[in-house]
């Protein structure tokens, strides 16, 4: 009992963190109305997933639903999902932010502040009551980073855990398809040159190989399932439909490829683009017509459409890259939470404490993200400063490099696969906590460095006087 109490007192940071996270979420849960979007309804049935959606998020939903089916807790299923997202995933996110911060700065207080501040980023927390993949993606991404970093602490089985979590992550958010290769690659670049080669492979080689292997098995098995069931090899057929936002204007100058099927699909889509008032209807009509006229399946159309898009980009590289800056701007130079429409006033106002704090951070982050000089500061200057400041400690340097690499990986893939037409802001949500973590950590290190500098100066001054 004494031991337990002692342990409890020693864990005051975690208790305070989790208590606050749960308290805030109780407030949110009582006031929110679940956000059910057009995308949401495509995740509801795990057994009915097509090639567009991946099973990660439906699996999470099925887990929550199944527990509810066992114990008959609620018949308001969407509130139930939000409950799971708020109290399991949201609280886990806070905890992971705390642990990652603590590992990378060795400061419990800074980590506690980071964990607490996470709760007041409405841009991110707002997703916890939307039936969308974002919150689960954040949890999995943070978990992957957390367990991956533990490999270098010499902890057992972390390679296996990271591998499985990576698969869960990429099957929730296919953008992270390369995560299993990407993380070891960053390690090789950032960590390996500083350590002795033989020792490095002896210590970490097996864990990194396991991650790579499990990720590959994960990708291949879902791709194979799609091939067997839908004749589509790949984890998701969403990419071609995202790329079209870039290529819609290229269809007028489509040069025939010689492949009858591709040329016919391109011709149908071009016709539909001209006739449909809404570009989204052009795709719906393309699918209907290609099925009827060419007897193709959804997966076959998607596969062909992907090839057409790649061909169009290859034929029009200048036009493609001309659109990239607006895509970048849509991804970064933006700060809103429109998907929580109907809830915003409840959680960002001047009346109560939590909405007041939310409002403060919302305005602060909005300023940071929507002002070009501040954005440069946030995305370039601060991360570079941070990496310079921690360069001497190889483990810490490797950790921050890894986080920075994940941020930029998400950015590059998002920006190159979809342009501004779909508003890339949502794709940033997955790495938003990491962007801010790097920013705050840089401030922390600057403050720490400044304090040490002043202390040294004061000491040397007093020595001189004596």
């Amino acid at each position: 009992m004494k031991k337990f109490l002692l342990k409890l007192v020693n864990s005051w940071q975690v208790i305070l963190l989790l208590g606050t996270a749960i308290g805030i979420r109780i407030f949110i849960f009582l006031k929110m109305s679940p956000g059910i979007h057009n995308d949401s309804i495509t995740y509801l049935f795990l057994g009915e997933i097509d090639t567009i959606r991946t099973p990660g998020y439906p699996f999470f939903l099925e887990l929550v639903f199944s527990i509810n089916d066992l114990f008959s807790i609620s018949s308001d299923y969407f509130r139930l999902i939000c409950f799971g997202q708020l109290f399991i995933l949201g609280v886990l996110n806070c905890y992971f932010i705390y642990r990652i911060s603590k590992y990378l700065t060795k400061s419990g207080i800074f980590a506690l502040v980071m964990g607490l501040v996470y709760n007041f980023n409405y841009f991110v927390v707002g997703f916890e009551f939307q039936v969308l993949t974002e919150t689960l993606s954040i949890t999995l991404l943070l978990a992957v980073i957390f367990f991956y970093l533990q490999i270098f602490e010499g902890k057992k089985y972390r390679g296996i855990i990271t591998g499985f979590l990576s698969v869960f992550l990429l099957l929730t958010r296919p953008i992270f398809i390369l995560v299993g290769i990407f993380l070891p690659l960053v390690t090789l670049i950032g960590f390996f040159p500083q350590s002795k080669r033989k020792e490095f492979f002896k210590k970490f080689g097996r864990a990194l190989a396991v991650i790579l292997l499990i990720s590959m098995i994960g990708v291949l098995s879902w791709s194979l399932r799609n091939k067997i069931k839908f004749n589509y090899f790949g984890i998701s057929s969403l990419m071609p439909y995202q790329l079209r936002y870039y290529t819609n204007s290229f269809f007028d100058n489509y040069k025939k490829s010689g492949n009858e099927e591709l040329d016919r699909i391109a011709a149908i889509y071009s016709e539909e683009l001209k006739e449909s008032k809404n570009v989204n209807y052009a795709v719906i009509n393309l699918l209907e017509r290609a099925k009827k006229e060419m007897k193709l399946s959804d997966a076959e159309i998607s596969s062909a459409f992907f090839k057409i898009n790649l061909k169009l980009i290859k034929d029009n590289p200048g036009k493609y890259f001309k659109q990239v800056p607006t895509s970048i701007s849509s991804y970064y130079k933006n700060y809103a939470a429109y998907w929580t429409a109907g809830n915003i006033r409840k959680f960002i106002n001047k009346k109560r404490i939590i909405p007041k704090i939310n409002r403060f951070f919302f305005r602060f982050y909005k300023k940071l993200f929507t002002n070009s000089p501040y954005l440069l500061f946030l995305l370039v200057i601060m991360p570079v400063l941070l990496l310079i400041m921690v360069r001497k400690d190889k483990k810490i340097f490797h950790g921050w490099l890894l986080i920075e690499a994940v941020i930029n990986y998400n950015f590059i893939i998002s920006v190159l696969s979809t342009n501004a037409s779909v508003n890339n802001l949502r794709y940033r949500a997955g790495v938003e906590p990491l962007i801010l973590l790097v920013f705050y950590a840089a401030i922390f290190y600057l403050g720490k460095g400044g304090y040490t500098f002043v202390l040294k100066k004061a000491k040397s001054l007093s020595k001189h006087k004596n």
């Binding site: 059910i36 057009n38 949401s40 309804i41 509801l44 049935f45 639903f65 199944s66 509810n68 089916d69 066992l70 008959s72 609620s74 018949s75 299923y77 969407f78």
Partner: protein, 151 residues
Amino acid sequence: MIFKSTRRKIILLLGFALLSFLLFIIFSHNYALNKTIREIGLRLTQIEKLSKLESQDYKVIFHRDHYEVYFFDAEKRKWKKSRGYKYRGDIFCQADEYEFIFSKGWLKTYNLKGIKGKLPKYVILYFSSLKKLSRPKGIIFYKDEDWKILN
């Protein structure tokens, strides 16, 4: 010899107990009933969203062992069957051929087999397990309004 420490033994025992408990509940009748009701509820939300997106009316017909979803084809002025869905396990609907017609997400009207004359203000559709008839679960449909699962 395989399990060296007591801690591992305890974890294994707890895991086994949890698994047995879960299996027991899964094979109990409530699980299948709850799952069926949940799937119907989610399906109704799903088709409501789809119908709003494509501006189509839709209807759901509940039979004893399955239900069917139809969308209204405005061009052909005809109901077009979308899909049929079976209930889980031995779950059955206590009513047969109850038809609920929705427009813009609201329940417009219903046709109930065997009931003629003025329509009631609401209909409760009961589902139960063949092995446990005494514990049904229902969905209430309000005319000109919405539907709700009765917990």
